[in-house]
């Protein structure tokens, strides 16, 4: 299964150091290096049709207090090492709104639900639920409470796909 993580607004530290990150999939290391706009990797899952869950974590490893520069005059932050998670694609399909089901856990223990911004040192973690369609339907109903039949229709869809595949 091909996974691609993209970031945006990557800002280096005070001495020009790039953010260092580590990506794990079910606690297995997939990437450990300076951040790049795009990070592709593959995981050994059978396919994206079966129902399963996997924990994806992106750790922000090298942030120190010196990477946040504050103006002595105004107290405003005038420089900071940080970046933002833009998207995660699985086999070419964007997670888009599903990213908000993840959370950012700062190293001091503070949890920021739905946060894609890597400011304080910590990690973004998201329980990836496959297939994505099922996850989307479940999430939509959980958030909007407007689709009580989603599970029945999803199962009918799955069964119809299986029948047509045997045709």
């Amino acid at each position: 299964m091909k996974i691609q993580i993209t970031f945006r607004d990557i800002n280096p530290g005070h001495d020009g150091r790039s953010p260092l990150i580590e990506v794990t999939w079910n606690n297995k290391k997939m990437f450990h290096d300076k951040i790049d706009m795009t990070i592709p990797f593959e995981v050994m899952e059978q396919d994206d049709c079966h129902q399963f869950e996997a924990l994806l974590e992106i750790r922000f490893l090298n942030k120190t207090p010196r990477d946040t520069v504050v103006s002595e005059e105004t107290g405003d932050i005038i420089g900071d090492m940080n970046f933002t998670l833009q998207d995660i694609c699985i086999n070419g399909e964007s997670l888009s709104e599903l990213l908000w089901d993840g959370e950012y856990v700062a190293d001091d223990g503070t949890v920021y639900p739905g946060c894609l911004f890597f400011g304080p040192p910590g990690r973004y973690r998201c329980k990836i639920q496959m297939p994505l369609l099922r996850w989307r339907l479940e999430r939509n109903h959980r958030i909007n409470n407007n689709d009580p039949d989603w599970q029945r229709d999803y199962e009918l869809y799955q069964q119809a796909c299986a029948i047509l595949a045997r045709k």
Binding site: D153, L156, Y157, Q159, A160, I163, L164, K167
Partner: protein, 336 residues
């Protein structure tokens, strides 16, 4: 698997087999058994490819009259339905049955328009949006001498004969209530009967839209008594009608008999009704579903029309067109 469960599975499989994604298929499945669309029959579609060109049709000054003459013979030759001789009635081209409805609303503008519960939603919407006096009625006793009645034969809500049709028409005769008979489903039915000797019947209208895949050409005919004069008849008299539709209509009815669809699909229709637990009717497109079928029926049509009416007041009329169009897949799936 049978009944509604089977119906849902078939709807999903057919929709996905058309290449729709989940969201598109889900939208289609919601309306899968609603509506009243003609079957996209392959033989008819092949015949339509041989239709006259638009320029030839528009230039043909005799096509409308010729179509009307042929249509009258064609509809009366339906071997499984029975209607009085239409030869003495004046025939006018009609853009579907709908133009005849509009004309009737206008002709009897001083009367309260009445419809039996279950009739075509177009009537309700037209009445509400033009502020006309109108009412649903439930039995002949609800009729008043100041009413004008539109009644569909076969009945819109079931695809079968309306209940107590003769009693209704007798009552209209007694009260002097003018009646328009909407025969949109006539060619797709078997066992339909209509006695035009009732003096109350002022107009009868037919359409090809539910029988053949030509609904967007709006091909219909209206018959009225000889003293009936209105705008629609004027257009017929002065030769100012839609020659494109008439030419296409003539092309279709000269290629297929009036019972073509019913004869071709009747056996399959009964097979589907049996497998789905539906009550078969006189029309080959519609069957009657019990209360478990409430998610289908005409609920979605009410929504499309923007009518805030309780859908449970109507029968669960189940349209089998999409299944009849995909019988190869249906048979494959039902054998699994």
């Amino acid at each position: 698997m049978s009944g509604l469960d089977l119906a849902r599975h078939l709807a999903w499989a057919i929709s996905l087999d058309q290449g729709l994604d989940f969201a598109q298929a889900r939208d289609q499945v919601r309306d899968f058994y609603s509506g009243s669309r003609a079957i996209q029959d392959a033989e008819v579609q092949a015949h339509l490819l041989q239709a006259p060109t638009m320029t030839d049709a528009v230039a043909d000054g005799t096509v409308v009259d010729d179509f009307l003459e042929k249509f009258t013979a064609w509809i009366m030759a339906h071997p499984h339905n029975s209607i009085s001789d239409l030869g003495d009635w004046q025939a006018d081209f009609s853009q579907g049955t709908t133009q005849a409805f509009d004309s009737f609303y206008l002709y009897f503008w001083q009367r309260r328009m009445v419809f039996f519960h279950g009739e075509y939603f177009y009537h309700v919407l037209s009445m509400m949006q033009t502020g006309r006096s109108w009412a649903w009625i439930h039995d002949p006793g609800d009729l008043d001498k100041n009413d004008a009645l539109i009644i569909s034969v076969p009945f819109c809500d079931t695809g079968s004969a309306p209940p107590d049709l003769d009693i209704v028409l007798d009552r209209c005769d007694q009260l002097g209530v003018p009646v328009l008979v909407d025969c949109a489903y006539w060619p797709i039915s078997q066992g339909s009967m209509l006695d035009l000797d009732h003096e109350c019947i002022q107009a009868v209208t037919f359409s090809l839209s539910k029988t053949f895949p030509c609904g967007h050409a709006r091909i219909g005919v209206r018959y009225t008594r000889s003293n009936y004069k209105d705008g629609q008849h004027l257009h017929q008299r002065i030769g100012y009608n839609n020659r494109l539709s008439a030419a296409l209509g003539r092309h279709i009815i000269t290629g297929f008999p009036a019972d073509f669809i019913t004869t071709k699909y009747r056996e399959t229709y009964h097979l589907l009704c049996a497998r789905l637990g539906l009550t078969a009717g006189q029309s080959v497109l519609f069957a009657d579903g019990d209360s478990t079928w409430c998610e289908y029926g005409r609920r979605s049509i009410l929504q499309v029309y923007g009518l805030d009416l309780d859908p449970t007041l109507w029968r669960n009329r189940i349209c089998l067109t999409r299944l009849l169009e995909n019988m190869q897949l249906v048979l494959h799936l039902t054998q699994e």
